[in-house]
Homo-oligomer: 303 residues x 3
């Protein structure tokens, strides 16, 4: 069952995730009707790390549900006066009905949940856990492909450092997608994660060290930072080889979709935005109904 | 017809402007009844240049209509991570129903409109285009004088650099006001603009190099920056001559009104605020119903 | 009677304060029902001094009433362009129905009230006046102890510099509490204030220079800054003696409650948060219904 807090995607069972999908789909219908589902509830956003897009997505979701939003801006706040994070959480817990928190320190959101009476939703936790991102990624695949099971998903980029890719792999395993991991040599995903997802869900991944889009239904792209390479020439070469250009898509299925968590820099050239394959802006937009579902469920929780 | 975006006052025909006036007047009546006209719509404000007053005016207008607001704060945003403006617009376009944007680069708001599916309203574009300012200026004259045609309007100050004065002149020409341009020598309005407005609307302006309020119905004042003069003594002298003091108003009509886009510094002394002639704070307040009208019309646009 | 502005607790008569208490209690009931009492009103927050907690408390109160909020962020505002505070107030007065203002300069909020047509509520004025803090402090005592008259309240800490303690003493005098002032030598409350409250309400205070919790119903604690002492050893010793540890509570009444205006640093150890005596987070939460009452009354004011 869905608990008080949403800290990690791994806290969720498959039926919880399916419930969120169903709710998110319902939310999209509600958005068209303009009906507000919630009355007189306050959602507090506490972003101790800049992430404008995620924060605005949560705020939009809260407002479209009918909630009010208060935002704890970090600059100039009482934290500067030496107040502990615990006290800040407990005070905000006294004002709001749901807290959405992003914090650079791993584990801090879990701790916040333990200290608050109201539900805490993780808006990103040290780059480690970002459960609503995984939910909206999976929801986008489901919405675009009408299923996740058996869909051929390529995860592309620096899979070693892009830690949210681990949650996505876990989610894809949960729903039985066919997964190909495409990473430059040295930037492969941690074998421990692959092993864990295999043991848990029986997922067997295919691993490639170069782009090969043939057969792919979904290309999920993340950035490769040049700083990861010792040799600048090597860096430039690899980044170029992993860039999602029109040329790189030769041989792709007609209905291949390209996803990206955004912000993107140059791993996908701007010209690709007009491609019928591009779905990353739709993916970002799907964050709103997914987060509406998450907030709506959290508001059901009784202290 | 009123289009998808409102980028420049020059995109509007006279009947569009008249429609906004009628709507704004209706909005003022609605404000008194407290009725909210809009349900479950989100307006995003993206101010890439500080302008608290304009932003709050738009936010107030959106909220009084019944919309929710999300604000894309520039500091700490993804733009710092290297995201393109285009991507930011496309993501916000996925969250909100209308975008209100201010940006230091001329043309950027027009471009944003082309990239977004939802309407984009210009909240000030490189000091060049600021269409809702022109609308609220004209609306204030209409409200105070019951007409614009034949009203004797003096535009006073540094007409060379105050670029929003150009839009106002265009608007006054459109509605057939009598216009006098009052600027210090060297800071006169661009003759090309005067010529254009004459050719388009037949407006003949009178030009003065010193204040002469006799016969004026409206004194529309803007600042003269001392930095525009090479000689500090000359600067001080001219600024003093153009200051709107009680003495400067000797011989003025009883119902002369003084307008100013605000913020004002010392071109109008604070003592003038109590004068029966002062209308600049009412003018600022008129921004709310005018922007309500603009947002309301934008929300009618169907993708 | 409750006036247009709420600048100082001393502007209020006992029956005004009792009215706010009654309203705040009603607001708590309304919060449970989820009913919004106000439609289409805008509350502006102008915090010229950082105070996240107070600002969020006011914003939450406004939103839970059904108001919309606009926030005048100080950084990047027109004040930087040289606009006078008076002009800023007058413009905001044209947008909003109630202004909530915090400002480092004593007297500035009173002045703002004189310049605005709409009510101005003081959110903290140079550390001097903070009337809603005093209201919520008294409301918390009333709620916890069912009365204020005869309740044994210890005000503990640096009573010389904690100027809001003066308003609280005044309020406790007004309601006939038994007051003990507990301050380190040299940091005692100004005798002039004690004299004034005695003359006005007949309050006789007991003064102690060390903690002695026996008989106390309420321990109201504020911080002692080490910078107040010349001798660092002395500072450390005094701060330790005034720390509210479990040991310091030996001999306390079972139903003693500990209050604190927050933020707290180390004058109350975090372990105390779990104590049945601790009430400071409830106290912070009570700020919401109290400020709802204050905003609600302000909105009744007719220009």
């Amino acid at each position: 069952m869905i608990g008080k807090d949403l800290v990690s995607f791994r806290d969720l069972e498959k039926k919880d995730v399916e419930h969120y999908f169903k709710m998110a789909s319902q939310m999209e219908k509600n958005l068209k009707s303009g009906k507000k589902l919630v009355k007189n509830k306050v959602v507090a956003t506490l972003f101790f790390e800049a992430s404008t897009r995620t924060k605005l997505s949560f705020q939009t979701a809260a407002e479209r549900l009918g909630c009010n939003v208060i935002d704890f801006g970090v600059a100039g706040s009482s934290l500067e006066k030496g107040e502990s994070l615990a006290d800040t959480i407990k005070i905000l817990d006294g004002y709001a009905d749901v807290l959405v928190m992003r914090h650079p320190l791993e584990g801090s959101v879990r701790l916040a949940g333990e200290m608050s009476k109201h539900p805490v939703i993780n808006g990103g936790d040290g780059g480690n856990q970002h459960p609503t991102q995984t939910l909206l990624d999976l929801y986008t695949i489901l919405k675009e492909k009408k299923k996740i099971k058996g869909v051929n998903v390529h995860l592309v980029g620096d899979l070693k450092h892009a830690r949210t890719m681990r949650s996505l792999l876990y989610g894809l395993g949960m729903f039985g997608a066919d997964v190909t991991l495409v990473a430059p040599r040295g930037l492969e995903m941690d074998p421990g994660v692959i092993k864990e997802v295999h043991e848990r869900f029986g997922l067997k991944v295919r691993e490639l060290s170069a782009l090969d889009v043939r057969g792919a239904d979904v290309l999920y792209v993340c950035r490769i930072q040049k700083e990861r390479f010792l040799d600048p020439y090597e860096a430039q070469k690899v980044v170029a080889e992993f860039r999602i250009t029109e040329d790189a898509l030769v041989g792709a299925k007609d209905d291949l979709i390209i996803m990206h968590p955004l912000p993107k820099i140059d791993e996908i050239p701007a010209s690709m935005d007009e491609s019928p394959h591009a779905r990353y802006f739709e993916q970002a937009r799907n964050g709103v109904p997914v987060r509406m579902a998450v907030i709506y469920e959290a508001l059901k929780y009784k202290k």
